[in-house]
């Protein structure tokens, strides 16, 4: 029982990322509405960001900004006291990429709507087949 609790405590963040990822994937496969697909795509991307941040987390450590007030120079900087900054850097980039993708996706969705007058994929498909 104790083992189970430690297992859950040490892994639940990763499981949450998997649930969100599968949620996004499911939305992208099943939903017929294009905006819904785009929302699913964003959830998918955010879940991967959550995974990276979970990798970077460190217990009993503080945010990665070094204390630098006067007098703090005497303390040596120890890696154990600060959270791993590298995943944060990578994920800043990933967030930017996700918003850029979102912008282009919405632009394409608007053009699709301008062309077909609907955002439902099956209706668009039947319109294409009719011609």
């Amino acid at each position: 029982m104790n083992d189970l609790i430690t297992l859950v405590a040490s892994k639940y963040n990763y499981w949450a990322f998997i649930i969100l990822m599968m949620l996004g994937l499911y939305a992208m496969i099943v939903k017929k509405n294009l905006v819904k697909k785009i929302i699913g795509m964003n959830i998918f991307q955010t879940s991967i960001i959550l995974f990276y941040i979970s990798v970077g987390a460190k217990e009993h450590a503080t945010i990665p900004i070094i204390e630098h007030s006067h007098g703090a120079e005497t303390h040596p900087i120890q890696a154990i006291n600060y959270i791993n900054p590298l995943p944060h850097v990578l994920m800043l980039t990933a967030i930017v990429v996700s918003v850029a993708t979102l912008g282009v996706a919405l632009a394409l969705a608007i053009r699709v709507y301008r062309q077909y007058g609907t955002l439902e994929e099956n209706e668009i498909q039947s319109q294409i087949n009719q011609v």
């Binding site: 297992l7 405590a9 040490s10 892994k11 639940y12 963040n13 990763y14 499981w15 998997i18 649930i19 990822m21 599968m22 994937l25 499911y26 496969i29 099943v30 979970s54 990798v55 970077g56 987390a57 460190k58 217990e59 009993h60 450590a61 945010i63 990665p64 900004i65 070094i66 204390e67 630098h68 900087i77 120890q78 890696a79 154990i80 600060y82 791993n84 900054p85 590298l86 995943p87 944060h88 850097v89 990578l90 800043l92 980039t93 930017v96 990429v97 918003v99 850029a100 993708t101 912008g103 282009v104 919405l106 632009a107 394409l108 608007i110 053009r111 301008r114």
Partner: protein, 276 residues
């Protein structure tokens, strides 16, 4: 379809979950991710770059090349939206609607008619006019300058606190977007045209690339800010700190301009009329 997708997704998820049992524990200080590369960054970044915020130091210096392309991605998104949505072919509408501001009378000018030129008394509208909410307009007028001031603080103070060019740029862009929402798009476009935002977006990225190129011309590697020390009249370490600041300003400019550009094109579907 739904059932198949659900089963695939569950299968895939449980497979990944199966692999998590071999992951290092969450928050474990001894995990490889926390013990291989990050100690160097944590212990050395203040010595190397004189920037206390390690994330800023790594973002703009150690991995500055990534960040340059991150800015380029944003720029590409703005350019792509413009390319996809903008419609230049104006339908030469035979009639235009103008609204007299003080009386609220809407006049309809047919083709060939004289258009009112005093824009403070008349404003052009498209089809229907939604009344401005005085409270929202006034509040936004009060808020926007403080938002912009905060954004500039975020850009400039990124060395010492969370934030930096990207976040500050987004907030700056958001302030202009707020202006466009509280008034209408056309009046915002008069203050900051699409051309200006496009050129600023490209110029912001050019500041970043140009800084790198300057380092290259000074004989060091691309984006090696130490080479700028003679130009900046500072020590080699402070040159890195200043180089990061220059780059962050470029990022802020580009991101602000692109956010506005994206909003202009998406909110009006490329027609640049009233917007939302």
């Amino acid at each position: 379809m739904k059932a198949i997708a659900f089963i695939t997704v569950m299968l895939c998820g449980s497979l990944i979950m199966f692999s998590t049992f071999e992951f290092p524990d969450w928050g474990d200080p001894q995990s490889p991710a926390s013990s291989h590369l990050s100690p160097y960054f944590i212990e050395q970044s203040l010595v190397d770059t004189a920037v206390p915020n390690i994330v800023t130091a790594v973002l703009a210096d150690y991995r500055g090349f990534d960040t340059m392309f991150e800015t380029t991605v944003i720029f590409a998104a703005g350019l792509a939206c413009f390319f996809l949505l903008r419609t230049f072919t104006k339908k030469s509408r035979t009639e235009r609607l103008y609204r007299h501001s003080s009386t609220g009378i809407i006049i309809n000018i047919k083709k060939g008619g004289k258009r009112p030129d005093d824009s403070s008394k008349f404003e052009r509208i498209d089809s229907l006019w939604t009344p401005y909410d005085l409270i929202i307009k006034t509040t936004c007028r009060l808020i926007i300058p403080s938002i912009q001031l905060f954004a500039l603080y975020v850009i400039a103070h990124g060395h010492h606190s969370p934030g930096g060019g990207f976040q500050g740029g987004v907030i700056l862009g958001a302030s202009i977007i707020l202006l466009a929402i509280s008034n209408d798009l056309r009046s915002t476009l008069r203050r900051m045209s699409e051309k200006a935002s496009a050129i600023m977006a490209a110029a912001g990225v050019l500041i970043y690339v140009g800084t790198g190129l300057l380092c290259l011309l000074m004989g060091a590697a691309f984006l090696d800010y130490e080479a700028l020390a003679p130009l900046l009249q500072s020590g080699r370490i402070m040159a890195r700190s200043h180089g990061i600041l220059i780059v962050e300003i470029g990022v802020g400019l580009a991101v602000m301009a692109v956010m506005i550009w994206l909003y202009y094109n998406i909110s009006s579907a490329g027609k640049h009329d009233e917007g939302l």
